[in-house]
Amino acid sequence: MLSLLLATIENETDRAFLSGLYEDNYDAMVKKARSMLSDASAVEDVIQDTFLYFAKNLDKIYKVPCSNLPFFVVMCIKRKCLDYIRMQKTRSKHIVGSMDDEETHFEPPAPGLSTEEQALLKLDVETVRQAFTFLPESLKDVLRYKYLLEMTDKEIAKTLGVRETTVRSYLTRARQAVYRICKEKGYVEETT
């Protein structure tokens, strides 16, 4: 009886949390989805799918800090939109095209950390964050999928429609780019 009561309370808590998330971010979600999908009817489907994913993965969602939730929700919508586009086989070239074009030029990353990545570890977080803001959106998104949505390389590869090795190359390239930006912007002194 007690476990049933606790389950009911837990269920109501989850419901209130997800409903609040939906209502607070509905406008942002619709804007993001509409910017990516030409089919207006698909917008609602994507939002529904996203919240269905949330309901099934509540443990993951509860770990996201409240201050990050609005952007987290929008990034999830973006991911679902990409999944939708891939499923419909009508990829939007301006979103993933540039990555596809570059895929053939990518070599699998060497094991271990590159020189740039090792140098990044000597910088403070805020410096790296400032450099990150200058990254192209496509590379930013790969890092966000990895570190905000906690997606595996395989999941990212599926969403972007590329191979797993390519995803690892994107990540390495993004991190190296961050370091180069740090140097270009003078956030870090030249090293030999």
Binding site: S3, N11, L18, Y22, Q48, F51, P65, F72, L120, R144
Partner: protein, 364 residues
């Protein structure tokens, strides 16, 4: 410098970026979110279903104390079961185990069971023979007939409808049990060992037990207390074989038979006519086999019912016979007042019955 450190750095960077982006999103939020009614209803419906599904799949969370208690209880139960098993193996006597096995065998052969209660040491009758007598009789039970040959067979009456029969078979290793008419079969302690008590449909009782020399069967319209008391008082005496009278009916009985019909291709491979009775065998090719046995009424026969596909009652030579059909073997057995017949072989039931019907008495 490891990959984990790099991941931790970027996780923090992305988290700060998400917080920054979130602040922008919050600042851009309209004062009131205009959610279409259709979308809201669809969302709520989906949420109900999804949360219900998630709740069903989610493992139940238990209170830590309760969980600990359950684990301890589980361990105690496992230990108790282990103790019971060890006690069962070490403490229970072999007789009790035998009783359980017997009961099990009876339960898996619902029509007709041959259960071995072999306690004999393999010794055959020598110059002396054991003889058994009833040492206690309940009120109203009177001896009607007594027959002693290779065993004891005593028949008693009790009033108009009551009866009691006691049989002891020396050196026997087989006891046939009719389970079809039994409504209850259980083991009972008897004479320091275990006996099998069968309660029949008509409430009469049958008690079976054995010792190292013989198998015993006591049956009749008795109470459980009476039948156990009688069994406890069965007396054993050792008498010279020469003093054991032969059943007069056996002396007159002709146990010599031969078939008038044998399926085509079967050739005799064994032909024994002795004081025991008739033992004939026929063969055909490599795997064709036919066996005919005729023995006296005290003989004990064993039949494999475990592998039987069907067991049924048929009429042969005017007698009720038992037909046991298995994959590659058919057995037909019946008895008369003076003999027990068995025809078996790698033949169909029809052929076996036909051979049985063709048996004729002979003088070898």
């Amino acid at each position: 410098m490891s990959k984990k450190q790099l991941d931790a750095l970027f996780r923090e960077v992305i988290s700060r970026d998400a917080a920054y982006e979130s602040r922008i999103l919050v600042s851009e939020r309209p004062e009131t979110q205009e959610i279409p009614e259709f979308s809201r209803r669809r969302f709520e419906k989906m949420l109900d279903r999804a949360l219900d599904d998630a709740a069903q799949k989610k493992p139940k969370k238990e209170h830590p104390a309760l969980s600990h208690a359950a684990r301890v209880l589980g361990k105690v139960l496992v230990a108790a079961v282990a103790c019971i098993v060890i006690l069962f193996v070490t403490v229970m006597s072999s007789e009790a185990v035998r009783g359980r096995i017997t009961k099990f065998l009876v339960s898996i052969t619902p029509h007709y069971a041959e259960v071995s209660l072999d306690n004999n040491d393999g010794s055959k009758q020598t110059e002396k023979a054991y003889r058994y007598r009833i040492g206690y009789l309940p009120d109203g039970v009177e001896l009607v007939s007594e027959r002693i040959s290779s065993g004891t067979d005593e028949l008693y009456t009790r009033g108009e409808d009551g009866y009691m029969r006691f049989r002891a078979t020396y050196g026997s290793d087989g006891t046939e049990i009719d389970t079809q008419n039994a409504k209850e079969i259980r083991t009972v302690p008897l004479r320091g060992a275990t006996a099998m008590l069968i309660v029949r449909q008509d409430d009469s009782l049958e008690l079976l037990w054995s010792n190292e020399k013989a198998s015993f069967r006591l049956e009749g319209t008795l109470t459980e207390a009476e039948i156990l008391m009688i069994a406890e008082h069965v007396q054993e005496e050792l008498v010279p074989v020469a003093d054991v009278p032969l059943d007069p009916s056996l002396e007159k009985a002709n146990l010599f038979y031969a078939p008038e019909y044998v399926p085509e291709g079967f050739e005799p491979i064994r032909r024994n006519y002795s004081e025991i009775g008739t033992d004939l065998a026929y063969g055909r090719d490599e795997d064709g086999y036919l066996c005919i046995e005729v023995n006296g009424p005290a003989a004990v026969s064993q039949y494999d019912t475990e592998h039987a596909q069907r067991i049924e009652s048929v009429t042969v030579r005017g007698e009720e016979a038992l037909l046991i059909v298995s994959d590659d073997w058919t057995t037909l057995t019946w008895s008369t007042e003076n003999a027990i017949f068995a025809v078996s072989g790698t033949l169909s039931a029809e052929e076996i019955v036909k051979i049985a019907e063709s048996l004729r008495e002979i003088q070898p």
